[in-house]
Structures are given as C-alpha cells and as structure tokens.
C-alpha cells in the first residue's frame, strides 16, 4: 500500500514539474514588495528561478538572460489563497448535473475525496485568476456530518495532477442546521444536534478501534483488518496526519467542535464561524485557527444570527489566526471585495493580507513552500497596480509556480468582442 502511494505521489510531482523544463529566470524589478513574512521592501527585486523565489531584496543582481518584468509603480504580494471553495467541483450552481460538491446519501462520508471530482478545465478557475488568487482549498460542500477530504490546488495546470498541491488536505465535518435539513426532513438521522454529535462520536470511536487493530497488526498483513476507506480516512485524522475542518456557526456548535476535538485529540480548524468573536479568547488560548466566510452574504440560517461585520477584526485583535474563504465556485474572485470589506470593518491592512496568504498556508501546513515572498518558496506572486484591496487596484500579472499565467477567460474574451462592436478602447 505504501509503495503504491509513493508511486502516485511520484507521478504527481513529475507531472507538475514538466511544464517548467526549459524555462529561464524571471526578475520583477523596482516594485514595492509586501513579503508578508519579512516586512515591506520598497524598490525591491524578486528573482524567480526553477519555479521558486531565488532571491528577494532591494539591491539584487539580476541574473543574465532573465526575463525582466518592470515593477516600477507596482506592488507585489504573495499569490492569494481562498481558504475554502468549490472550484472545479461545481461548474454552474443551478445546474445539478454540474455539481459534484457533495453526496447526500449518507451523513458520514469521510472516504470521499475532492481530488476524484476536480475538473481542471473548469471555467470558474480561469474566472478566479484575475483577482490574484493562486491557491484554493477545495472542500466538499456541507449537508453531511462528515463530507470528505479536501485538496489544496494551484489555479494553474492542464490536468488535476498538475493542479493539486496537497491531497488529502483535511477532513471536513459540518455541524449545525444544514445536515439536519438534509436528513432530518426525510426522517433520517441526524434530526437534532444531539443526534449529530452522537453519530460523530460513535464513528470516531469505531475508527479508534480500527486504529488499534491496524497498529497492533502492523507489519502483519494476514491479520490486518479488512480495508475500510471510511475508517482509513478517520484514522488519519486521529493520527493527526490531517487536520479536521469543522464548519460551525452557533456558539454551541463551536463548543461542540471543541469537545469533539478534545475527546479524539483532533487538529481542529474552525470554518464559517459567524459567532467565533464570542469565544475569541478561548480560541486564542487553544490556538484554534478560524476560516471566516463567506463574508459578503446575508445570514440565511438562525445559526448565523450572531454574524457581524467585524468578526474578522475582533478575532485578529484577540490574536486568533484567521483565513478567509468564499465558499463559492463561480464567485471566487469576489474574495478581493470581501477582504476590502473586512478592512472597512476594522481588520488592519497587513492582517487582511496575511489572512489570504501566509495564514492559510500555515493553517494547512504548506507555509514551508507557500504564503509569503521568501527565498525558496514557490514563486506564486501577484503584481498589482496599486495597494491591495482598494477599489481601483487590479492584478496585472499573476505567477503561479514561477510561470506567468494567462488571465484571459470567458468574460475577457466576450468583452473583447463587445469592445470592438462598440468601439470602446
């Protein structure tokens, strides 16, 4: 089994490396560089080589033969993350046949993997890129208590293998109203929050036993338990190999998430979390990160009545690590506006930038290669024509893995036609 996994990973790495062969160095010169991890460099230069950041500083020698991108008057930030969405899982939200985001067949679906449904050719991916989004945590949608395993993708690649950065990334658990609606209304469990928690505890207990059987028969193939994909997924959460993202809004649901994580020693990440501000101190004390969002949506359930515009600001002030998600497929590029709104409501600029770059990279354990402008990290960079999250600022260039990616999409192509038709320049 282990050999098989290594072989698969090997293929992924090879495939991802292929397009880089033969590409020379790139230098972005004279820009204001917001590194996120090491402050701001005025008049800075970034050298990109072999898909990585080879150098960054104010007084750098540009390697001979490098392709130079003039960064004067520009601002460079790390490629942004959407910390939770359904890119490549849902093409047209109202067309059910294009929706592979969740399986409403059983409330406990830990074995489902986003990677098996990802559509690298989704037009929504190209629509999201002009907003400077380089990475996305693609998660199964809600509706199940355990909805499956997410993947971290980069918004570039001709195939799923080229896009996927890390999978499985996390296990996804959903508390609150949505699962009750999905199953309770058709007289199946869970019908109540009590039922939901009992089912979750029960299945994790089952996984604990499966883990004991696995551990005690390690190296002895004949006695190992029959392979069970659901159990294997839960065991990796119990082993803390992957974190568990729990969507919870009402304060009581957040507390349930914490109880569940305590009981089974899970690496907890909270998501949605509209009432997290009520318990900010406790989240800080326990070092539980929070993925907020969608921020630009009216609450549609009673569990979200505590939502407030300054949730992000209050959590940041309390010292909680926050990231931001759109929970969308077709509206991912609105992340830009959502972050601007969080700033309007008290989140400092630098904290806002960190919430869509380094924080999500840290939360998902990829900050060794993503999330800031540092030597050795993957060259995911956004060149902006102004300060980030301002209404008149646009991404002029996006680099993912050291490659300048195409920012055209269905909309830009349509607009080209319209411009010609009406003579708009």
């Amino acid at each position: 089994m282990i050999q098989k996994i290594t072989a698969v990973i090997g293929c992924l790495v090879l495939a991802a490396a292929l397009p880089l062969w033969g590409q020379g160095p790139i230098a972005i010169s004279g820009a204001r560089v917001l590194t996120v991890s090491q402050g701001v460099i005025e008049n800075g230069t970034i050298v990109v080589e072999g898909g990585k950041i080879a150098a960054v500083g104010s007084d750098l020698k540009i390697p001979a033969g490098a392709q130079i991108i003039d960064g004067r008057g520009k601002v460079v930030i790390p490629g942004m993350f959407d910390a939770g969405n359904q890119l490549g899982l849902v093409e047209i939200p109202f067309e059910e046949v294009t929706d592979d985001s969740t399986e409403y067949t059983d409330p406990i679906h830990p074995e489902l993997r986003v990677v098996d449904a990802l559509n690298a050719r989704s037009r929504n991916i190209r629509i999201a890129r002009p907003a400077g989004i380089a990475n996305a945590v693609v998660t199964p949608a809600g509706g199940n208590l355990i909805s499956g395993q997410s993947a971290l993708i980069q918004l570039n690649g001709d195939s799923t293998a080229e896009m996927v950065v890390k999978t499985p990334l996390a296990l996804h658990v959903n508390l609150g109203e949505e699962s009750k609606e999905t199953y309770g209304n058709s007289d199946k469990s869970p019908k109540t929050r009590m039922g939901a928690m009992a089912m979750l505890r029960q299945v994790f207990m089952k996984a604990q036993r499966y883990k004991v059987m696995l551990d005690s028969t390690a190296g002895n193939r004949n006695e190992a338990p029959t392979r069970d994909l659901k159990m294997e997924s839960l065991v990796s959460a119990l082993n803390r190999e992957i974190p568990v993202v729990v969507r919870a809004n009402r304060l009581g649901d957040i507390e349930s998430a914490i109880r569940l994580a305590d009981e089974f020693k899970l690496r907890l990440i909270l998501a949605d979390a509209t009432s997290a501000w009520r318990i900010a101190g406790e989240l800080r004390r326990r070092d539980i990160p929070v993925i907020l969002g969608p921020l630009l949506q009216a609450p549609s359930r009673i569990e979200a009545v505590d939502s407030r515009l300054d949730n992000a600001a209050l959590l940041h002030k309390a010292g909680v690590t926050i990231a931001i998600q759109t929970s969308s497929s077709n509206g991912v590029r609105d992340l830009w506006f959502a972050v601007g709104y969080a700033i309007a409501n008290g989140l400092p600029d630098a904290a806002a930038l960190q919430a869509v770059t380094l924080n999500p990279a840290r939360i998902f354990g990829v900050d060794d290669r993503l999330g800031s402008i540092e030597v050795g990290k993957s060259a995911n960079l956004v060149i902006l024509d102004g300060e980030p999250f301002r209404v008149k600022t646009h991404a002029t260039t996006l680099l993912i893995g050291g490659r300048v990616v195409d920012l055209s999409n269905h909309q830009t192509e349509l607009y080209e036609v319209v411009r010609k038709k009406y003579g708009i320049n």
Partner: protein, 446 residues
C-alpha cells in the same frame, strides 16, 4: 369612473383613505420621521466632500436640511443662526442610496418559512397581487440596509412567474405602518420575470408555461383577453349603465393598467432572446417597459435599450450561477452607460444583502466605470428607473433630505457609512445603529 380609475382606487385604497384623513387633520406629513424633522431645527452638515450625483462634487461643502428637504447645497451658503451644525470635515456625503430591486420585507432576513411571502408560485399571471399586502416592516434587513447607506428601496414579488405582481417602494424610515413606510407618490410598478425561473417553476409542476415559447404565448393570450376586458367595460360605461356591470377581474385590471401605460414594468430577464421577446410584446401591445432587471447580457442590445428609453438594473459582477448568466461580463454596466442607458445596480436581497448595496457600485467602478457614473448607478439612475427622481437620488435643492455621511470615498471598499438621514432626520449612526428601532429587542440589527 373608468376602469383605469377604478384600478387605481383599488391599488391605492388604503393610501387614499389615510391621506384624506391627514389632510382633514391639517397635517399632510405624518409619521415619527416626518413630524420630528418638520418640527426640528435646520441641520447644516459642513466640511465634507459633497458628491451630488448629478452636479459633480463640492469640496468642503455644506448641505442645509430643513423641513425634511434639502434647502441649500454649496461651498458658500448662508447657514441660519438656529441651525444645528454637524461637522463632517474629511468625510464624504452622498444622496441616500436607492435600490430598485430587493425582496426585503416580503423575504425577511433569514427567510424563515412563516415569514416568507415572496412568490405566489401557483399561478403564472399574478397581475392581481401586491407586495404591499405582505411587507413586513420589522424585517431586520431594513435596519441593516440603512447601515449601508440605503434609504429607499423597491421590494418586488419573486421571479417564479411571468407576472409576479405589483411592487412597493419604501423609505427605510423604520415606520411600522406600511402607510408611513411607503414612498408616497411613487408610480405603480409591476414585477415580471422572463426566462429560466418561470419555466423551471412551472415545468416542475407540469403546468404551462415550460418553455420560452410558452411564456410568450401565455402573455400574449392574457393581453388579448385584457384588451377584450377593457373594451367590454368601455362599452358598458359608454352606455346607459342600466344593465348589470361586467364582472370585475383583478388579474385583468392589472393588465389593463399596463396596457394603459400607467404601470412601470420591471422585468427580470437575462439573455438576448428574452429581451427580444419582451420588445416584441411591448411593440405588439404598445406598453412601455421601465427597466430590464438582472439583464446580464444587456450589453448586446445597449443602443436599442437607449433608443427605447428602457433602463437596466444589474449587478456589479455576478457570473455563471445559471445558464442564462453564463455570458455575464463585469463591464455590462459600463457598456450600457456608454451607450446612454440609465443603468442601476441592485441587490436582489437576499441574493446580496441590501446592506452591501454600495459595493455593487464599487465593483462597477473596479471594472472601469468612472466615479460619478458609478455613484449614479446606486442613486439617481435607480430613482429614474422607479420614476421618483424628482424626490430622491441626488443632492439638489428641494429634494428629500436623504443623505449618507461616509468615512471616506463611498466607492472605496474600505469605507463605511457613518451617519444616515432620511427626510431630514438622523436615522443611523455607526455607534448607535438604527435609531428608530433603538431599544427595541430584536436580533440582527446592526
């Protein structure tokens, strides 16, 4: 009394009664808001950048409010000695925002089943229903909308049906009585919908219409019936009126109003083929269309809409959520504006929150629309589309004193509304929230 008058009486029956009572009592203005403003001192808001929406901007300007109206505006205007001075140095002032497409009040925030009165989805032609009969004036979204600078909105029945019903324009003054919240004097509006929603709704039930062909056929047949209905009444009225009057039919009366050109028709439609079907109908039955709403592909037909004086109500950028939204471009509003179409934003709340309406103008601005044109999409153009531009939508002398003081440029993402005035009365501050409901125990208030 003609059929038209009768319908008007029916639509305005409660309003007519309440206005006459007030006239008898000697005070036309009523309700907490108007009374307080009328009795209060004039207010002079000084030192801000005033974005008038129609006459450019005034640096370090003063806006003087008196008796619920804008009394004066300019860089150097005399301020009465008794005026209350509001220092707005470094701030921006805009007209109160006007949102021409929302479901606030009939789809109250959270959408709890018992509260939802969005759509009479069982019949397709609902020219007999009025959102006024359902508006929940305690909808928390009203307070939240004001916190985002919205002061007037039109709430429309949903889009499950080709004709959804009559709309209601309200001032977000926090009044509990719909008569006090209603925008007095606003023209009649009727919600229509074309395309996916009606056909999907009715096809799902196995009822007519389930195609675009069916939608057009049904509307044409009903209008032909309405023409006949009107003729029958005219004949009876022209006669000696001794015979029993023809039967009244509310659905027909609504359509007769449309045929008479007395209703502002607001049509939800997305695609080129929808627009063309609607223009064919409008030509065949000779009624005007006030605006096409959502209209994500309207850029394709911009000059034609301008020629026909049809407005467009659209999103800053909302893409790809269904097939008929597949050809949306974020420059839609910009292209329409360039072609001379009155283009407004909307929220379609709860699709987007009324509170965040301003952001729609910011998004249009982000995608290339000039500043003043962007501001117009949430103010004067929306007012024009509703036919209330003589009252709201710009900072001009004589207009209603509906104003927003912003922390910075209102188009900037990082800006917030700090104070909101409606009819000259302060109704919101960032610190104290929505003042008309202050102290009332409710959830979800800003």
């Amino acid at each position: 009394m003609s059929t038209g008058e009768r319908v008007f009486r029916w639509l305005h029956s409660t309003a007519v009664i309440s206005i006459s009572l007030l006239l008898l009592s000697g005070s036309f203005l009523h309700g907490q808001t108007a009374t307080a403003a009328a009795n209060g001192r004039p207010i002079a808001i000084k030192g801000a950048t005033v974005l008038t929406a129609t006459h450019g901007s005034i640096e370090n300007g003063t806006v003087l409010l008196e008796n619920g109206k804008i009394k004066a505006v300019g860089a150097q205007i005399p301020v009465p000695a008794n005026a209350k001075i509001v220092d707005a140095k470094g701030k921006f002032i805009t007209p109160g925002l006007v949102n021409p497409h929302s479901h606030t009040g009939i789809y109250p925030l959270l959408g709890l089943q018992g509260n939802v009165d969005l759509s009479e989805a069982n019949s397709n032609i609902n020219s007999n229903i009025r959102s006024m009969d359902a508006v929940d004036t305690s909808d928390p979204e009203i307070a939240r909308a004001v916190s985002g600078g919205v002061t007037t909105l039109q709430t429309l029945p949903g889009s499950d049906n080709n004709i959804g019903g009559f709309t209601t324009v309200i001032k977000l003054n926090g009044a509990q009585s719909i008569e006090e919240a209603r925008f007095q004097g606003a023209p009649l509006g009727m919600k229509w919908a074309w395309g996916e929603n009606p056909k999907v709704q009715h096809a799902g039930k196995g009822t007519h219409p389930s195609t675009l062909m069916g939608e057009a056929a049904m509307l044409r047949q009903r209008f032909i019936n309405a023409q006949r209905y009107a003729a029958k009444w005219q004949e009876w009225e022209a006669g000696d009126r001794k015979s029993v009057a023809p039967e009244r039919d509310l659905e027909m009366e609504g359509l007769v109003q449309v045929l008479a050109g007395k209703v502002r028709v607001h049509v939800h439609a997305y695609q080129m083929n929808h627009f063309e079907a609607l223009l064919r109908l409008s030509d065949e039955f000779k009624f005007p269309i006030a605006a096409i709403h959502h209209a994500l592909q309207a850029y394709e037909i911009a000059p034609e809409l301008a020629r026909r004086n049809i407005g467009v109500v659209t999103f800053g950028d909302y893409w790809g959520y269904k097939i008929e939204a597949w050809d949306a471009i974020p420059q839609n509003a910009y292209v329409l504006w360039k072609s001379g179409v009155a283009v407004s934003m909307h929220t379609d709340s709860p699709v987007m929150e009324d509170r965040d309406y301003r952001l729609q103008a910011s998004i249009a601005n982000h995608y290339g629309m000039p500043d003043e044109a962007s501001l117009q999409t949430v103010t004067i153009n929306a007012a024009k589309i509703l036919g209330i531009e003589n009252r709201v939508g710009s900072i001009e002398v004589g207009k209603d004193a509906d104003l927003v003081i912003w922390s910075g440029n209102p188009l900037e993402l990082t800006t917030r509304a700090e104070r909101v005035y409606i009819d000259g009365k302060l109704v919101y501050t960032l610190n104290d929230g929505f003042l008309p409901w202050k102290g009332s125990p409710s959830f979800l208030h800003p």
